[in-house]
Symmetry: C2
Subunit: 341 residues, 2 copies
């Protein structure tokens, strides 16, 4: 069983190695000037005693905690996972560590989490989305660290933004369905609020349908976001009960779209001949299932990469508040068999 003893400190190492604590401190910083032999002696003493530096103490003193706080809605989502990978990869080279929290798609939980994370003094904080409680907003604005909002294009950003227009991406999908000959197009998504990106996709659907002179009323609300495959399947049932002549359905995510597809399989509805299906997010499942599902790829990894760059920039040049505070991504449509052929 792991012990309950107290951890050795720099002072212990210093004593063991016969130097001052300050020299120990230097020995652990790669760039600082320490006699090679002295350093070796110190590191070996540290190893002998099982020393692990206390970064909270280091941070208190140096004002550099060496970590960046990141909040994502869910820890079970390939899209956000890719963004976090992009962040981790981008920050690692500068020695910054990512500390992760998840909000469960809940702005109140987000407020709790942001408060907690800020208390640990991250060097920057990256949040998903541009909708927060008023308190979260205030806290973030008052905080002394760079704030980056991702996955969205908030009208009134707190700090920097790395995102895309979910509404425009939806509109792209509508146009694709119209171009492939469908007019009676439906939308399946979660209830309003909560998942604001999903909400924006719905709004984008509505706006583009009207622009195309089509009827935008075929909409199903499938429950609390994030809606799952199961909810996608159930939503398709409801959709076909109410509007049996629907020609195409676009779903708030590939997961819901796949659920809808399975429902078609169970009912013997041919996709895309009887019904076209489109999703969102370029999840693996949409590529592998039969038939593969048309989707939109927002380039999630790139969002993380760019956010990491923004962090590094803000951290280096203190004064020059970098050029544009909005880094805009362009999601790409991926047309597959579920809507054509």
């Amino acid at each position: 069983m792991s012990g309950r003893k107290k951890a050795p400190t720099m002072a212990d190492i210093a004593r063991e190695a016969g130097v001052s604590p300050m020299t120990v401190s230097r020995a652990f910083k790669a760039e600082s000037y320490v006699n090679a032999e002295t350093r070796e002696a110190i590191l070996s003493a540290a190893d002998r005693l099982g020393y692990v530096m206390d970064k909270t103490a280091a941070g208190l003193s140096s004002k550099k905690t060496g970590f960046v706080a990141v909040t994502i809605p869910s820890i079970n989502n390939a899209n956000f996972a890719d963004t976090v990978r992009g962040l981790t990869d981008g920050l690692r080279e500068r020695g910054l560590q990512v500390l992760l929290g998840y909000t469960n798609y809940d702005v109140v939980e987000e407020e709790r989490l942001v408060r907690q994370l800020l208390m640990r003094r991250p060097e920057a904080i990256i949040v998903t989305g541009g909708v927060h409680t008023p308190a979260t907003r205030r806290i973030l604005e008052a905080s002394a660290v760079p704030v980056i909002e991702t996955w969205d294009l908030p009208k009134d950003p707190i700090g920097t933004v790395v995102g895309f227009s979910n509404a425009e991406a939806s509109a792209q999908l509508v146009r694709h369905l119209v171009e492939t000959g469908r007019n009676k197009i439906a939308f399946i998504g979660g209830d309003a609020s909560r998942d604001t990106r999903g909400h924006d996709r719905r709004k984008g659907f509505l706006a583009e349908m009207e622009r195309q002179g089509l009827d935008p009323t075929r909409q199903v609300e499938a429950g609390q976001p994030p809606i799952s495959m199961r909810e996608g399947a159930r939503a398709l049932q409801r959709l076909l009960e109410q509007w049996p002549d629907t020609e195409a359905v676009m779903c708030v995510s590939d997961l819901a779209a796949f659920g809808a597809l399975t429902e078609c399989q169970r009912r013997g509805i041919a996709v895309p001949a009887d019904l076209a299906i489109a999703g969102f997010g370029a999840y693996e499942i949409g590529e592998i299932c039969v038939p593969p599902i048309t989707t939109v790829d927002p380039d999630c990894y790139e969002i993380g990469s760019l956010a990491a760059q923004v962090v590094l920039t803000s951290l280096s040049q203190d004064a020059l508040e970098a050029g544009s505070p909005v880094v805009r991504i362009s999601p790409k449509l991926i047309a597959r068999a579920s809507t054509q052929g």
Copy 2:
């Protein structure tokens, strides 16, 4: 843009409210005795100045950092997500926050991560699996905090264990396939090493096949774990090239199993009539796809819940090193249409 000013401290609040810093400190602890009016004045002063307590300083002084470190292999996995939910829910009520890191199924990355997390002085650390680099092991053993290994039953645990036998779960699946009349059974999983839980499942397959007097050589290695749906599909191709008369295939996870299922759909192989398919993990996809896939449910949330309880116990009774250091879960077989009917 968020500011670059320095954050107010307790001393600032104390001055503003006309009390001592110590009183401010007490005002923020719910249980401590502070005059109601004084507390109100302090909290309002704090609010006015946008004060956010520095928990790193608090932890340095009190030796209680208020967080628990958790490492998982992937942030895109429903199973681990459920475990983390169980942990978060169980620890929240005691005011402990979960700080998450992911290892990418890589023990070297795990070592890096564990080192980093330990430098921030968590009150406990929870890792996935029982296989680590020697250095990771040493560091964890030397650390002054409770260590919990999950999702596995390591032979030589570092601290406490909350897990199950992946091999035995596999064996269960083999028996199910034999009982439903299959003899020519194959296994699809990742290459050895890396994902040790997957490796154990493979070993369990092999052992039980031999126990049943069946030929265990039908095994496909599908690449670096975690293997995806796509790799599951490709593995099925290879399997059928080499052993076209295979009657059943069990996959290291439901995701791989679903990939295999899609390959059957593309080739016109009837499941389960021509080929039975089983997975692992009770992912949503196995329940919703057509036909639904037989699987094993390890009760991931429960693993997290129990681990949280272990943490709380270790943290309260310092001396009494709780009863058994191994909490053993029993995964349940879920038989579905992909192997029967």
